[in-house]
């Protein structure tokens, strides 16, 4: 535990700043954030994989108006079992090379196509996740913004209202709500879950607004005659966007785990529709005989949640002004050389000037 890297000496600090400054020269805040985000490897991989999953789920068996290219075009129907035991036909290597086959994720005991079921589950889980994320964001931002902007009794009232939802575990309220709305419609379930997931965001936005409302640009806007609503929505929310975006992402990864957990417990999406959590609940006992029935839905949950967590991490780094990229040794050396050259040139110009003068 002895060799902690000592903090970089001043010369290095200066060089790092030079690199940082050169990179952000002439860019707007949004462009800087975007560049930083694009440079975050984990976030970019996460984004690509997530897009892949969304496209696969949306197009394969069709989603609403989008027609599917997968044979059968739907889910839930059963066919005769192709390979004995319903083993997956997907193969990556071996005899015949890479093959997808008719049932890449295998079949269950009565011959249902696991690929179609998993795709449908992914669609449902993604849909629930996005709806929860949107609703929770809107409610959380509104409540946090009003509490932070107006302070006083309204703040007190709204924050106690937030506390009401904080003292109740989300899973518990979710189970009760799921019992009411779960067998009605997945969208309605998602909407109601959205209305209980906004508490963390509301607190954060309130904190941000309390600090922002003391800033000069708010005073300037007020002097210029802007209304309260205009100050809040045109001036302050854009400044709190970092907190909002980052937390919406993290909220979504929590949302997909909440939805799958509820469906697993039987309070979420219910037959005839399926979700990833429901699939795991249904097939967990088949683990010893047909492990693929259990692996595929689980892998999709983990992949989606992991991608979103990485994207959230990338966004957080991109929005954090204190976050600095550690420059590579090569970049440091290059800047050093450039700085030395510039200094040498300045020195020679100086002497010439002096000679002329």
């Amino acid at each position: 535990m002895s060799n902690i890297e000592q903090s970089i000496p001043d010369e290095g600090d200066r060089l790092e700043n030079a690199i940082e400054l050169k990179e952000v020269e002439g860019l707007s805040q949004g462009q800087i954030v975007f560049r930083r985000f694009v440079r975050h490897k984990g976030a970019m991989i996460g984004l690509v994989v997530l897009m892949g999953i969304v496209i696969l789920a949306a197009t394969s068996i069709g989603w609403g108006p989008i027609p599917g290219w997968w044979k059968g075009g739907g889910f839930g129907g059963s066919n005769p079992v192709e390979i004995p035991g319903g083993r997956p036909t997907l193969q990556l290597w071996g005899e015949g090379g890479f093959q997808i086959g008719n049932y890449p994720f295998g079949q269950d005991a009565i011959g249902k196509d696991m690929f179609a079921l998993t795709m449908r589950g992914t669609q449902q889980s993604l849909m629930v996740m996005v709806v929860i994320g949107l609703i929770a964001t809107v409610v959380g931002v509104l409540i946090g913004a009003f509490a932070g902007f107006f302070r006083g009794w309204l703040d007190n009232l709204l924050m106690r209202f937030t506390d009401v939802f904080i003292v109740l575990p989300t899973l518990v309220v979710g189970a009760v709500l799921g019992k009411i709305f779960g067998n009605v419609n997945a969208v309605i379930l998602a909407v109601t879950l959205g209305f209980i997931s906004w508490t963390g965001l509301a607190r954060l936005v309130r904190g941000d607004f309390l600090a922002l409302r003391e800033r000069e640009f708010v005073d300037a806007a007020r002097v210029a005659g802007a209304s309260n609503a205009r100050i809040m929505f045109k001036h302050m929310i854009p400044n709190a966007m970092g907190v909002i975006i980052v937390n919406t992402t993290l909220l979504m990864s929590a949302a997909i785990l909440l939805e799958t957990a509820l469906s697993y417990l039987g309070f979420g999406v219910q037959l005839p529709d399926v979700s990833l959590g429901w699939l795991i609940n249904e097939y967990q006992t088949a683990f010893a005989t047909r492990p693929w029935l259990f692996w595929w839905p689980g892998l999709f949950i983990v992949a989606i949640a992991l991608c979103i967590n990485f994207i959230g991490d990338g966004l957080r780094d991109a929005f954090d002004p204190r976050q600095r990229r550690i420059p590579t040794t090569r970049a440091l050396r290059r800047t050093e050389k450039a700085a030395a050259k510039r200094e040498a040139r300045a020195a020679s110009v100086g002497t010439v000037d002096g000679a002329n003068g």
Partner: protein
């Protein structure tokens, strides 16, 4: 201060009332206690429905029923508790609640303590190795664990840890490739955790891999896992290792008296192993607790006996080492019970259970019963740890990095303090402050939130009580669950604020 506490108390009670009322109304909409009767074909259907409506007061609107429930619970303040009935089984809620609370506490305590200790440890090491291989590995691992659904992990654990390990025990030999793979993985982990020069990393890698191979080969060759025991020699060697490590972290190896204290305690522990075996024959819970206290006291006394100006530090080191060595001896005795346990007729050679909190009809000594409870705790505890461990690691890493960049750490280094002192005394202690505020909240969340874990592993704790009452349309046990979870959350929030204010002088509570 008093004003702050009173105001907080008042608003907490109000919040709790509103929250319970909301859940009561929602749950009342969600459940239908008459469902089974509506579809029944009994000739006296109408009479049955009327009877149950009368029993549950369904003819009254739900706010009225909420008030009557609240009145019963509020009676606790004047000593006349009426928590209601679980009407399907005609059991008073107080009875159901008592056993459920005990089960959940047993499950949650071990998991929380282990998750905090492990998470803090790994988080600190990860922060000290910022942007190195180990750090990136831990970041990725914590993201992965964060994204795992509990119920999925639990099924995997059942399959691999329980069933797989039980199958493995039939034979209990480890194949050579498996030994090599484990050795290499452990070597890489330790090598990158220690860090520093590549030479140093390679040495650590080699030493840890070689010792892993040696230990695993011994375990495999002697089928040690079927009848495990440590014995006095292993206890002595491990004890000395613990003594060195604890001294190095708590006072630094240059503090000779602390080092002598730790070594004395370790030797003393190994020497007491033999006489303790006879004491252990009459073991029970109280005796073991007493022995643990005695061990710590002996450690303190040894520390004071070595004297010197810093006897407080020596005593502290001695106490920690004594506790750990005593734990080792206890663990050794538990291992000796392993064989009788796994060979007993109800266990039948498959010692890791996948369900329940204890084996029914198991008879045996204190050791066998304790071992049985521990094996039952294994899987659910693992599942709970895996998930909260990730959170603690990330939190501790961030807070440690924050502190390491503070000016006072630079000052401490500039004074010429050793790196150990800077990290342990100046950085680590301060980095724990933010943790002190989330631990109460986390415990509160775990108390009510082990719903899924309990369900999967068949523990009849609080979470199972909640799910069952929701399924059975029994509002009384459900409301008690919500009340307890809500109250614990409110109290934990309050505690967290107070703890933060006490630890961090920059925070004022009377704002």
């Amino acid at each position: 201060m008093l004003n702050f506490v009173l105001r907080r108390l008042f608003s907490s009670v109000a919040v709790l009332l509103v929250a319970t009322f909301l859940v009561f109304v929602l749950a009342d909409i969600a459940v239908d206690p008459l469902e089974d009767l509506r579809t029944s074909t009994a000739p006296n259907k109408a009479a049955l429905i009327a009877e149950r409506t009368q029993l549950l007061g369904l003819d009254q609107p739900s706010p009225v029923r909420y008030l009557s429930w609240l009145g019963g619970v509020a009676g606790c303040a004047i000593g006349k508790c009426d928590l209601g009935m679980a009407w399907r089984t005609n059991q008073p809620v107080a009875d159901v609640l008592g056993s459920a609370l005990v089960v959940t506490l047993k499950l949650v305590t071990v998991a929380t303590v282990l998750a905090i200790v492990l998470g803090v440890l790994v988080g600190v090491v990860s922060a000290l190795r910022q942007y190195e291989g180990f750090d990136y590995g831990i970041i990725f691992l914590s993201f992965l664990l964060y994204s795992l659904p509990t119920f999925w992990v639990a099924v995997l654990l059942k399959q691999w840890v329980a069933i797989g390990f039980n199958d493995f025990l039939q034979d209990a030999t480890i194949s050579l490739p498996a030994i090599l793979a484990i050795a290499i993985v452990l070597g890489i982990i330790f090598g990158s955790a220690v860090g520093g020069e590549w030479r140093r990393r390679f040495i650590v890698f080699g030493v840890s891999a070689a010792s892993t191979i040696a230990v695993l080969s011994y375990i495999s060759a002697t089928k040690w896992l079927l009848d495990p025991a440590l014995g006095p020699v292993v206890i002595l060697v491990t004890g000395l290792g613990i003594a060195y490590a604890v001294t190095a972290v708590s006072t630094g190896v240059r503090n000779k008296r602390a080092m002598y204290t730790a070594m004395t305690v370790a030797v003393l522990g190994a020497a007491l192993w033999w006489p303790l075996q006879f004491v252990f024959q009459q073991a029970n819970g109280a005796l073991i607790t007493g022995l643990a206290v005695v061990a710590v006291a002996v450690g303190v006394v040894v520390g004071y006996a070595w004297g010197g100006p810093d006897r407080g530090q020596s005593a502290r080191t001695g106490a920690i080492v004594a506790f750990l060595v005593a734990g080792l001896i206890y663990f050794d005795r538990l291992m000796q019970a392993w064989r009788p346990y796994s060979e007993s007729s109800v266990i039948n050679g498959r010692p890791i259970p996948t369900i329940g909190s204890q084996t029914p009809n198991l008879k045996g000594s204190y050791w066998v019963v304790t071992l049985d409870q521990l094996t039952h705790l294994l899987l659910p505890t693992l599942a709970l740890i895996l998930i909260s461990f990730a959170g603690y690691t990330r939190y501790q890493r961030a807070s440690m990095l924050e502190v390491m960049n503070q000016d006072y750490v630079r000052t401490a280094r500039a004074k010429g303090l050793t790196e150990r002192t800077v990290i342990m005394r100046h950085a680590f202690r301060n980095s724990l402050i933010p943790l002190a505020t989330i631990v109460p909240l986390d415990i509160a969340a775990l108390l009510g939130g082990a719903v899924i874990t309990e369900r999967i592993f068949g523990w009849t704790g609080m979470g199972t009580m909640f799910l069952k009452s929701l399924d059975n349309a029994e509002l009384d046990p459900l409301m008690i669950y919500v009340l307890i979870v809500g109250a614990v959350a409110v109290i934990a929030n309050f505690l967290a604020d107070l703890v933060y204010a006490a630890l961090d002088p920059r925070i004022r509570v009377n704002a």
